[in-house]
């Protein structure tokens, strides 16, 4: 049994919460007491059926306003897979929350209301999906019950969306016509849409191949912590603890430590307390080196024949996440995996309209703005391009005075 993390993008009106409720309900992940609680609330709302959307809105303010504000994580399993849903809000004023949810997703479900087709919001969600480089996209064309389960409606939306996907370079797009309210094509194929030849949504989620999304070719190991027991029997022990974020490491591999450039060879590898010959992404491990060199938290151990780039000048697509605006020339801490360096946002090249992809001139950025910037760092940063290796191309900006995370960087 493996693991799939996905995000659902859409607003309440698209039936996003209803879809999640339906997946949880039909996969029997909802318990009687939880159901009783939402039944009670559904009656408060004077609706005939139980309102599956109530399952996902966790905060009082969300229930009061009937909207999703923050990302909620939901879990369900089938015999084939464990699923982690990042349930993110769809409104433009919560773009940063969707970016947050998208950052760890293997797959995005983009909901389209069959009556409305591709709208501004669809484009925005697709642009964010593409910026965050989510490997798989499912376009769920919802509310098919309200368009008489019409194949023509479905076909027209597929044609429209294919344009969007092409312009954004989305690679793996799958279309599924559904009705979340009635459960059509959610778990079982719907007899009302016998014209549809694809799999049901759940079946697709169970079978989409995600193993291949894990990069096993470019080995990167950010050091998190140095283990030095300094006891009598282990006084020479020095282990570099971290997670293999990509690639495979084997005993005897020639390695280079970045940014210092020192080289050595892997003497031993420990995984879960046992010595092993190799470790691979995303395993956590301890590496031992032949030579006694200076390595500390924030350094990257890479294989010498495949080094990441190291620089002090970064081109970055940045999503601004703070209420206070970004001002060029301001200094921030930049954190990429375990490495934290001081940095300054040198210049803003342009602002990207997340509804239209249009680029406009900008000198500052406000909450939820997506901009292209140049960042200079106080010391070198080993990195990969985000579009090639997500695990080593994403960084956050931290305000040094408030300590808040203010930006998400996709390094170009």
């Amino acid at each position: 049994m493996d693991l799939l993390r996905f995000i659902t993008a859409g607003s309440v009106d698209d039936g996003k919460s209803t879809l999640i409720g339906r997946l949880l309900y039909d996969s029997k992940s909802i318990m009687i007491d939880q159901l009783a609680a939402i039944e009670k609330q559904s009656k408060n709302k004077e609706q005939g059926e139980i309102d599956l959307a109530l399952l996902t809105d966790g905060l009082r303010a969300e229930r009061e306003q009937g909207i999703t504000i923050d990302v909620a994580y939901k879990y369900f399993s089938t015999p084939k897979r464990k699923f982690i849903i990042a349930d993110a809000p769809g409104h433009i004023q919560y773009t940063r929350n969707m970016v947050t949810g998208a950052s760890t997703a293997d797959l995005a479900i983009i909901l389209i209301d069959a009556r409305n087709g591709v709208v501004e919001q669809t484009r925005r969600h697709s642009i964010i999906t593409s910026l965050l480089n989510i490997p798989h996209v499912v376009v769920a064309i919802n509310k098919m019950d309200l368009v008489d389960y019409s194949q023509d409606v479905y076909n027209n939306i597929v044609i429209d969306y294919a344009e969007v996907a092409k312009s954004l370079g989305l690679k793996d797009v799958t279309y599924i016509p559904i009705s979340a309210v009635f459960g059509d094509n959610i778990v079982e194929k719907s007899p009302k849409m016998s014209w549809f030849e694809g799999a049901s949504l759940l079946h697709f989620l169970e079978s989409v191949e995600v193993d291949k999304d894990i990069n096993l070719t470019n080995p990167r190991f950010p050091v998190q912590y140095v283990i030095r027991p300094q006891t009598d029997d282990l006084h020479d022990y020095r282990g570099y603890a971290g997670k293999v974020i990509s690639g495979i490491y084997r005993k005897g591999d020639a390695i280079t430590v970045l940014p210092s450039g020192q080289t050595s060879t892997i003497k031993a590898i420990e995984h879960n307390g046992k010595e092993v010959d190799e470790v691979f992404a995303p395993q956590s491990a301890i590496l031992h080196l032949e030579d006694d060199i200076d390595i500390s938290r924030g350094d990257v151990i890479a294989k010498s024949d495949d080094l990441p780039k190291t620089t002090q000048e970064l081109d970055v697509v940045l999503c601004w996440m703070d209420n206070k605006p970004l001002v060029t020339g301001n200094k921030y801490l930049l954190q990429i995996n375990s490495r934290v360096v001081r940095s300054v946002v040198k210049e803003i090249e342009y602002r990207l309209d997340v509804n239209t992809l249009q680029k406009t001139e900008a000198t500052s950025a406000a909450l939820n703005d997506v901009i292209k910037v140049k960042i200079k760092t106080a010391s070198p940063v080993p990195y990969d391009s985000y579009s090639e290796l997500r695990e080593n191309g994403g960084a956050i900006l931290i305000d040094e005075t408030s300590h808040v995370t203010v930006g998400a960087c996709m390094i170009q």
Partner: protein, 302 residues
Amino acid sequence: MSKYSLDYLDHLESEAIHIFREVAGQFERPALLFSGGKDSITLVQLALKAFRPGKFPFPLVHIDTGHNFPEALAYRDELAKTIGEKLIVRNVEDTIKAKHLTEPKGKFASRNALQTYTLLDTIEEFKFDACIGGARRDEEKARAKERIFSVRDEFGQWDPKLQRPELWNTYNGRISKGENVRVFPISNWTELDVWNYIRREKIELPSIYFSHERDVIDHEGQLVAVSDFIKLDPTDKVLRKKVRYRTVGDMTCTAAVESHASNIDDIISEITATKTSERGETRIDDKVSEAAMEDRKKNGYF
């Protein structure tokens, strides 16, 4: 499946180890909040994997309400001894006396809410900057929204509207003086994931998790253990039942479930088949209002 495919438990385990090491790398004085329940026992197992052969870079800290199951306390002491790590215990009883706190009244008077005072005092006493806890997002809907690194102000309060964005696997543990961070390495685990992991890793648990005979009363469908900490009404009928616990909290606010499951396999079968959530079945304290947990967390609770 290629030989480089991982089982979902391996993914969850590696993620949790990574989080533990981020705590070790980012904080000066972390602590692991240990209750003797299965979730915090799982945390200890993950910490062993993250830091051995080194010592834990933090002590285990138990906030003892005085209403704990004796089996859980015995397990706690034995575990700390076996792994050779430091255990700090602070008692709610002492806080009540020192601060003249008022104990809640009523039949199932629970010190659950008072724990927060002792926890905050303990954080201040040891200047802890990060407290690692075993909370899971599947437990409750307020928790479903909480970050893995959850920043609390000097009063321990959680502000759900002012949470930091948490992107990729990059955790921002920077805080101002007086603030601290609650860290939840098993946020993405479900109850069943924890049980499956306990089975896979052959982790020993306190005996109350397995079927045993106990005197209980039936309180609105929930079985509550007869103990010195609850007041029986004359109408209460004491029943002798075969029960086990699904969660381990205070004896006053944790209900047992009828069960003959005497080993992990049987427990997993029962949980897989069950139709009631963990907190719904066993927590008496969550039913007060729709937002009970959200409110308690805002006030400094785990």
